[in-house]
């Protein structure tokens, strides 16, 4: 036999099965491009030189892992779909006299072709797109200096290795399929009698309970900390619930409908119900996949976009004033510090405003109603409640408060004023150690901070009679690693263009720290760079993964449409012969298909709706409290996604209708 026989046959096969293999190869190319791009950006040397790149690199690494896992699952899924479709063809070969080892050889060559095509195109595409995406990433993280982007040989190697392994494994499973079957089975392929699906009340019940639990958690979460801790628990419950309900719940429901004879034996319901039972059986897992993927796309996109857009607002939450310089009152010469700041300001012609300075003491305490205890070390029982009860307390002497507010309040020894950043402090008194203090007023505002809708932990400012009282409370409550004496703070806002302020911030830090190494400087403009890296990285990853998941969804829908089409064409004919109108048949089938394909989208939207409260709480942990913004981002995300989904459906529906005619 001609030694090119098998490669030729393999090539012909791929061409003949083009309508399924071309999308498959496109998926492979897409996954390879995505993987390589992530790897090459992650290992880019230039990234190391940027400030705050550690967070970004961590996010990118997470991306690599997710894409890797995703590629394995998804390529296996599509491969098994393809080989199922082709069983008849393979059976025919073996009847025509090809032995199993010959068929295996054909499959081997096919895999080789697929691998070579997808790897070469994928890597080339990855190199080209990678450069583009890298520039995009630099843009979203607001990094201006141009960085070179080279071909990453190490990345090429890793990507090739990973995908060779995946392709190898799919080939192995195909070998196994051929080996375990005989020609007759292969010939009959997909069509050996469709068993009526079994429905299990238990699985359905598990589905309802876990979906309910997931939703319940989502709705009952009250604080950002709970949200962060419980979000993934809820996600797991919802995923289990989704699969269980798609697989078993749908069929249980349909079977109940079938038992209702009056309902079932109506011409409209009769065909829909029994048709849906079979469609759900064959598609349940695929549809559940689409549902979960869609939910992931929506959640990822809406959170990352909200974070990115909302970071302007968030940074204000972190930094009520642009710059704060805090040092131990006893050991720092604040007049000198101020002089240094002024001279740096003069050098760059930067102006400041809202300048305030005051004494303070700061400590963390553990709140039990009105009793505040020394901060306890977290033990293994670090449940949400523990974090819930930690509070941040800042003490300020009345003199400083009166001076800053131009007020003339007065306090007795055991009296305090309180300002709470979050919800109002509800108790009439406050107890530190053995001393009880009477709260004479709940302040509505304070010069050094402002009210926030979401307060991570409880932040309280207490105005006390004088420095003596302040020091007394501080010495009682302070932890071993806190400074020994009370502090002094200098805070102000800056005016000027961003570049100048960045330079000023760096210069000022260096100059101040030179003489006062222990001083603590917090600067909005320094933090900005880091925030951009953090949220820009998130946005980048979100959009990247979002598009990848979207691609997967599109492909699953396409494959589903095709396989439905093959099977429906037969049914379509029989129904016509038995006396059903052509248009009637088309309408019924069209309706079923519509239901099947829009069920996952509906499911995803419901999931997102229930997830919304958790998402807002979770974003509040990042100080994003603008619920309207989050809602708008989510809404736009849902609408855009639904449009894309519908578009894909309409496109693939065309190939479906071609098949049934």
């Amino acid at each position: 036999m001609n030694k090119f026989f098998y490669p030729k046959l393999a090539l012909v096969n791929l061409k003949k099965n083009g309508n399924t293999y071309i999308p498959y190869i496109l998926t492979c190319i897409g996954s390879i491009m995505a993987f390589y791009t992530m790897v090459s950006i992650h290992s880019n040397k230039g990234l190391d030189q940027m400030p705050g790149s550690i967070n970004l690199k961590m996010i990118l690494f997470l991306g690599i892992i997710v894409i890797g896992i995703f590629a394995v699952i998804f390529l296996f899924y599509t491969n098994s779909f393809l080989i199922k479709r082709r069983k008849k063809e393979l059976g025919l070969y073996s009847i025509l006299g090809l032995e199993k080892k010959h068929i295996a050889r054909v499959l081997f060559y096919e895999t080789i072709f697929v691998t070579v095509i997808s790897l070469s195109l994928g890597l080339i595409g990855g190199i080209l797109i990678g450069k583009l995406l890298f520039l995009l990433l630099l843009n979203v993280v607001h990094f201006k200096s141009p960085l070179s982007f080279h071909i990453d040989y190490w990345g090429l190697l890793i990507t090739t290795g990973v995908f060779l392994a995946i392709f190898g494994l799919t080939l192995l499973t195909n070998f196994l399929q051929v080996k375990l079957s005989n020609p007759i089975d292969l010939l009959k392929g997909g069509q050996h009698g469709e068993k009526e699906p079994k429905s299990s009340w238990i699985v359905t019940l598990i589905g309802i309970v876990s979906l309910g639990t997931g939703y319940g958690i989502a709705l009952s979460v009250e604080t950002p900390l709970e949200a962060l801790l419980l979000f993934f628990v809820a996600v797991v419950f919802v995923i289990i619930g989704t699969y269980a309900l798609f697989i078993s719940g749908s069929i249980t429901l349909l079977k109940q409908l079938k038992k209702n004879k009056k309902f079932y034996y109506q011409s409209r319901n009769f065909i829909s119900v029994s048709g849906m039972i079979y469609r759900m059986k064959q598609n349940a897992v695929g549809l559940a996949n689409i549902c979960i993927l869609s939910t992931m796309v929506l959640v990822t996109l809406s959170t990352t976009v909200s974070l990115y857009i909302g970071q302007e607002g968030m940074r204000r939450d972190f930094y009520p004033l642009d710059v704060s310089i805090v040092g131990e009152a006893a050991n720092t010469d604040f007049a000198a510090v101020k002089a240094i700041v002024e001279s740096e300001k003069d050098k760059l012609k930067v102006r400041s405003n809202n300048e305030i300075s005051f004494d303070l003491a700061h400590f963390r305490a553990f709140q039990e109603s009105n009793h505040f205890l020394k901060d306890m070390v977290a033990d293994e029982s670090t449940d949400a409640m523990y974090y819930e009860r930690i509070s941040n307390i800042t003490l300020i002497p009345l003199d400083d408060y009166n001076r800053l507010t131009s007020g003339s309040k007065s306090l007795a020894e055991n009296e305090v004023l309180i300002f709470s950043v979050g919800d109002n402090y509800g108790e009439p008194t406050i107890v530190f150690g053995d001393e009880q203090y009477l709260i004479t007023e709940q302040l509505e505002s304070i010069p050094m901070d402002f009210k926030k809708t979401q307060d991570m932990g409880h932040t309280y400012y207490l105005i006390v009679k004088d420095a003596g009282v302040m020091d007394g409370i501080y010495q009682t409550m302070r932890n071993d690693d806190d400074p020994v004496t009370t502090l002094h703070a200098l805070m102000f806002n800056l005016d000027g263009d961003e570049d100048t302020l960045n330079t000023f911030s760096a210069n000022m830090r260096a100059a101040v720290l030179q003489n006062n190494p222990d001083i603590n400087i917090q600067n909005l403009y320094e933090a900005l760079t880091e925030l951009y890296f953090f949220f820009g990285g998130f946005l980048f990853l979100g959009v990247f993964l979002g598009s990848l998941f979207m691609m997967a969804t599109v492909l699953i829908i396409y494959f589903k449409q095709i396989s439905e089409g093959y099977e429906d064409s037969e049914r379509f004919e029989i129904m016509q012969k038995v006396g059903m109108d052509k248009t009637e048949v088309k309408k019924t089938i069209g309706k079923q298909i519509l239901m099947v394909f829009f069920l996952p989208l509906a499911g995803a939207i419901v999931h997102v709706a229930f997830a919304f409260p958790v998402i807002t709480k979770m974003l509040a942990a990042f100080r994003l409290t603008n619920i309207t913004l989050i809602f708008l981002c989510t809404l736009v995300g849902v609408v855009v996604y639904a449009l894309v989904y519908t578009g894909v459906y309409l496109l693939t529906a065309r190939s479906y209708y071609k098949m049934i005619h």
Binding site: H192, G193, E194, K195, E196, K261, K262, Y265, Q266, S267, F270, S274, G275, I277, Y278, R571, E573, I574, M575, Q576, K577, V578, G579, M580, D581, K582, E584
Partner: protein, 255 residues
């Protein structure tokens, strides 16, 4: 009473781009009386299937007329044709054409459900059929769980449950083993005995030998017909075989 009357039926297939013309039926006329059991025989390509498709209103003739119970089915509007087929005709196919998504019972109910009959009515009709067709045991099963003979009996039940004026059978024994085929033919004879008119297209001499009358079709024309008269099945078999061999040898001198 004349149930079916076919007059000067002609069907010409034109290939898609108008090139070749194939004449499937050149001039076919015959009639079927109420309560008759007629078999149509002929070789592959003789036009049997085309004829049956036209009778089943699945296809339209190029010219000619078909009257069922006095109504010309050639001129029925497309929108009414499905309902007409459902109400007046019963079909039995070679490959059963049962839907694998329905149980046997639901397959049998299908035409009635489409005609929007209520469940009690459907059930009582099925009761009276299932005994005769020996399918009580398998009603709740699915098509892939039962044998070919059982599938075909279910298909017969589906054809009969609408109480059609005419049952059209296309090679009903084609996919059955000889025992199941014989069983099915007995059932056909029995339902014919009860007054059901049957028109069957077949290759099988054994199948045709159960009919009251056999029409032979060749090159798109009725070539000959045999009436049973008082003949037994065996005599019928002999006569059909003889006719077929004459037909095959191209004999001109018959009758």
């Amino acid at each position: 009473m004349r149930l079916l009357e076919v007059k000067n039926l002609k069907k010409i297939y034109t290939t898609r781009f108008g090139g070749n013309q194939v004449q499937a039926l050149s001039n076919v006329s015959f009639s079927v009386e109420q309560g008759e059991y007629v078999a149509i025989m002929g070789e592959s390509g003789s036009g049997k299937t085309t004829l049956l498709n036209i009778l089943a209103s699945l296809d339209k003739p190029t010219s000619g007329e078909v009257f069922l119970d006095g109504k010309n089915i050639v001129t029925i509007k497309d929108s009414e044709i499905s309902a007409f087929r459902r109400d007046n005709l019963g079909f039995v196919f070679q490959d059963f054409n049962l839907l694998d998504t329905f149980s046997i019972q639901d397959n049998i109910f299908l035409p009635l459900v489409l005609a929007q009959k209520n469940y009690q009515e459907m059930n009582s009709r099925l009761q009276s059929l299932s005994g005769r067709l020996e399918i009580e045991e398998i009603l709740q099963k699915f098509p892939y769980e039962v044998s070919g003979g059982q599938k075909q009996r279910a298909a017969v039940a589906r054809a009969l449950i609408t109480k059609p004026k005419l049952v059209l059978a296309d090679e009903p024994t084609g996919a059955l083993d000889s025992k199941a085929a014989m069983n099915l033919l007995k059932i056909f004879a029995a339902i014919n005995h009860l007054g059901q008119t049957i028109l069957m297209v077949t290759h099988s001499v054994a199948a045709a030998s159960h009919a009251n009358r056999v029409l032979f079709i060749k090159d798109g024309e009725i070539y000959n017909q045999i009436y049973r008269g008082s003949m037994s099945n065996d005599d019928m078999y002999q006569k059909i075989s003889f006719t077929l061999s004459v037909l095959a040898s191209g004999g001109e001198d018959l009758e």
